[in-house]
């Protein structure tokens, strides 16, 4: 790194900034599509968090839930693919029966693990952060154990979903085309996520379910006294949220990649929690924050794939590749620390609700 001061002396800083902007504009189209894609698991984790925490349950186990679902989805699809033999994919998204069954299996697994978390937090009333951590430890352990065993078998996977795709003529139109490309050049899980964000936002603030959910997260006793079963409401939300985390896991092993890898969630669940906080516990806000965090990955991927030329490339060549790898995590910490003080959690978040009659 000793070369940097010399390089900075030689090149005026202003010029560098202009070059960086030029590079970004030139590459915005691929970067933004990648960013949206990379944001999908973060957004799904964040939505899972919003659904739990709005009703008053903290779920830091969603990293583990995603990991388990990534494994279950991939393994189920591989088993089905093995049993059915090669099949022609549907014309859309490269979907095969194996992949679809894989996603379904992941969702079921996600809801089951969430049911465990719901029981721990709501019925057993243990510390929810400890409970979530145990799920994370268990998920890493059990998927590691299974994956070591399974990788001894010769499994041919079920492949992966493919993006919807936007015709090249449209995708290259500045602004409108770029935007369409960013949004539509996604696989089925990515597109579903965008739709879920919109529906979830409307439901949370306009539906009966949303009103009751928000009230339960703020003042569960008040909710109980108007005749609503807080326990059941929280169970339902936590179990439903498991399906969201499951989609995030399925995305990792079936839409982004083609197979499971040990600890492949790589902290995305926790980045999702940060996105939830930065997005102030609203679905749209959480998705926005997820995009923000993902843009760091988008940028670093872009720099790896098509490194900038000229002086900018010169400067970047001094930056170790590890910096770009760490950038999403650095951005997450920095933004979280900057925003968290102004972002107020639901008042009863993380507090187990105890009925008076529970004796």
């Amino acid at each position: 790194m000793s070369g940097i001061p010399g390089a900075l002396d030689a090149i005026p800083l202003i010029g560098l900034v202009f070059q960086l902007m030029g590079y970004l504009i030139e590459n915005i189209n691929p970067i933004s599509a990648t960013t949206v894609a990379v944001s999908v698991p973060i957004a799904l984790a964040a939505l899972c968090g919003v659904m739990c925490e709005r009703s008053g349950v903290v779920n830091i186990g969603l990293e583990g839930i995603m990991l388990i679902c990534a494994f279950v989805g991939w393994y189920a699809s591989a088993l089905v693919a093995g049993a059915l033999g090669p099949e022609a994919p549907f014309p859309l998204f490269g979907a095969t029966p194996a992949l679809l069954i894989g996603v379904l299996a992941a969702i079921v697994a996600g809801m089951l693990v969430s049911l465990l978390h719901a029981w721990l937090s709501i019925s057993a009333r243990i510390d929810q952060i400890i409970g979530g951590t145990i799920i994370n430890i268990g998920a890493a352990g059990i998927t590691g154990y299974l994956y070591t065993l399974v990788s001894g078998q010769s499994l041919t996977g079920a492949g992966q979903f493919t993006p919807l795709g936007v015709p090249q003529e449209v995708a290259t139109v500045p602004l409108v085309g770029w935007l369409l490309n960013a949004v539509l050049n996604q696989g089925p899980i990515g597109l579903t996520t965008i739709i879920i964000v919109i529906i979830f936002q409307i439901m949370l603030f306009r539906s009966r379910w949303g009103l009751r959910t928000r009230a339960a997260g703020e003042h569960p006793r008040a909710v109980e006294t108007v005749g609503i079963d807080v326990i059941r409401l929280r169970y339902r939300n936590v179990v439903m949220s498991g399906a969201l985390a499951a989609l995030g896991g399925a995305w990792l092993s079936m839409e982004y990649g083609t197979q499971f890898q040990a600890n492949m969630t790589n902290g995305r669940g926790f980045i999702g929690l940060a996105a939830m906080i930065v997005g102030r516990w609203s679905p749209v806000g959480a998705f926005g924050a997820a995009l923000l965090f993902a843009s760091a990955t988008g940028l670093s991927l872009s720099i790896t794939i098509s490194p900038p030329s000229g002086d900018l490339g010169n400067v970047f060549s001094y930056i170790p590749s590890e910096f770009w790898d760490a950038l999403p995590y650095i951005i997450t910490i920095v933004i979280l620390a900057g925003v968290v003080g102004r972002s107020i959690a639901p008042a009863a978040d993380g507090q187990p609700y105890e009925r008076e009659s529970a004796s």
Binding site: V58, I60, L120, A124, R125, I126, D127, Q128, I129, I130, G131, T133, I134, I135, N136, I137, G138, A139, A140, G141, I142, G144, Y145, L146, T148, L149, V150, G152, Q153, N266, G267, F270, I271, L273, A274, I277, P320, E322, F323, D325, A326, Y329, I330, T332, I333, L336, A337, G338, V340, G341, S343, I344, A345, D349, G350, Q351, P352, A358, S359
Partner: protein, 375 residues
């Protein structure tokens, strides 16, 4: 008094026994995936646990248990100190890595020139301080901005992982190695071998054993310990009582990181001798398990550290003799904690004595990410 000790032992023991049973069932159900075994082979759990025990109960197995326990005890103390202050340090992995890297750096820089008697204490010191720094950052962020340490320590784990990779590839790299790795320091630190006739027992064991009473004394016999425990049990009351809760957060996270860094340092100096990409002993989760099993009691950490160390020491034998991968231990850990945290024993007993209420949840950490009220 003895009654209380027995009670505090009964619950973890019941959890362990039940978890081993559940683990046995899991091995049984998945035995079809183990090479050379039929599906639903009832012998497999017995073989696996037998191999595990045989891996522990031998002279080498016992010294190896001590060696594996060393970082677990230090790391477990680190997590336990955090829990006492209401802080959840999941950043053990990153802090451990920093401890290792700092120790390697010191040895590489001065080891040849000064010899082990100066270099090794300095390496330990550097490892502890590097860990403390890695713990200071999330502590500082929490105290100043309220960012929850659970998220920041996890993020730091990844950041420090890449920092360590950069160091292994860059300044600390061993020239002409096929894979990026650091210098092997086992020749230099021969002085660390305590008992000449053991294969692997090193001085780090004594550091860990010494840390237990020191941390116990700090927590229960000093005013600082009272402040840490008060801040953990009720931060608002601690502030009311005139304790500087922000400073306590930073201090406790640093102390927690220091113990983790020390764990990384002794493991590197006495056990693994060099690091390469992706070096991870699983300390982050293991230390949490150790602390939870001990209800954050330093004396308890000694025993739970030894227990998990024994399982780690025996697991290679389980792999080689029964074909059951050591990852099983990670899964078992979670099952033990699950049974422990839901108080299986008390739940079962309580059901019999109808009418008693469910036990209070162990409030180890405040359940929120943002603590706006830290002042």
């Amino acid at each position: 008094m003895t009654r209380r000790v027995i009670q505090s032992l009964a619950e973890p023991l019941a959890a362990i026994v039940l978890a081993l049973l559940a683990g046995g069932i899991m091995i049984f159900l998945l035995s079809g995936l183990v090479p050379g075994r039929q599906p639903f082979d009832a012998r497999l759990p017995i073989d696996a646990y037998g191999a595990l025990v045989s891996g522990i109960v031998s002279f080498n197995g016992l010294t190896s248990t001590l060696v594996y326990s060393t970082p677990l005890i230090l790391g477990g103390l680190g997590v336990a100190v955090g829990f006492k202050a209401g802080l959840f340090n999941i950043g053990g992995r990153g802090q451990f890595l920093m401890g290792s890297i700092a120790s390697v750096a010191v040895i590489s820089a001065i080891g040849g020139a000064t010899g082990p008697w100066i270099a090794i204490p300095l390496a330990l010191l550097a490892g502890a301080l590097a860990g403390a720094l890695a713990g200071f950052i999330p502590g500082f962020l929490k105290a100043t901005s309220g960012a929850h340490e659970v998220v920041t320590t996890i993020m730091l784990n990844y950041i420090l992982f890449y920092v360590s990779n950069w160091a292994i590839k860059g300044p600390l790299t061993l020239p002409r190695a096929p894979q990026p790795t650091t210098q092997d320091i086992s020749e230099l630190n021969g002085a660390l071998y305590v008992l000449p006739f053991t294969r692997d027992l090193h001085i780090g064991v004594f550091i860990a054993l010494l840390a237990v009473p020191i941390i116990w004394f700090v927590l229960y016999k000093t005013t600082l310990g009272f402040e840490i425990r008060s801040a953990g049990a009720n931060p608002d009351a601690a502030r009311y009582a005139g304790m500087k809760t922000r400073r306590l957060i930073v201090l406790t996270m640093s102390l927690s990181g220091l113990l983790m860094g020390l764990a990384g340092s002794v493991t590197l100096l006495g056990q693994v001798h060099q690091t390469s990409f992706g070096y991870d002993t699983g300390i982050g989760f293991d230390a949490i398990t150790v602390a939870l099993l001990a209800s954050s009691n330093p004396i308890g950490v000694l025993f739970s550290g030894l227990l998990l160390g024994a399982m780690r020491a025996g697991s290679p034998a389980m792999q080689s003799q029964a074909g059951v991968p050591p990852d099983l231990i990670n899964a078992l850990q979670a099952i033990i904690l699950l049974f422990l945290i839901v108080n299986v024993l008390r739940r079962v007993l309580a059901r019999r004595r109808a009418g008693t209420s469910t036990p209070e949840p162990a409030a180890l950490t405040a359940g929120k990410y943002s603590t706006e009220s830290v002042q």
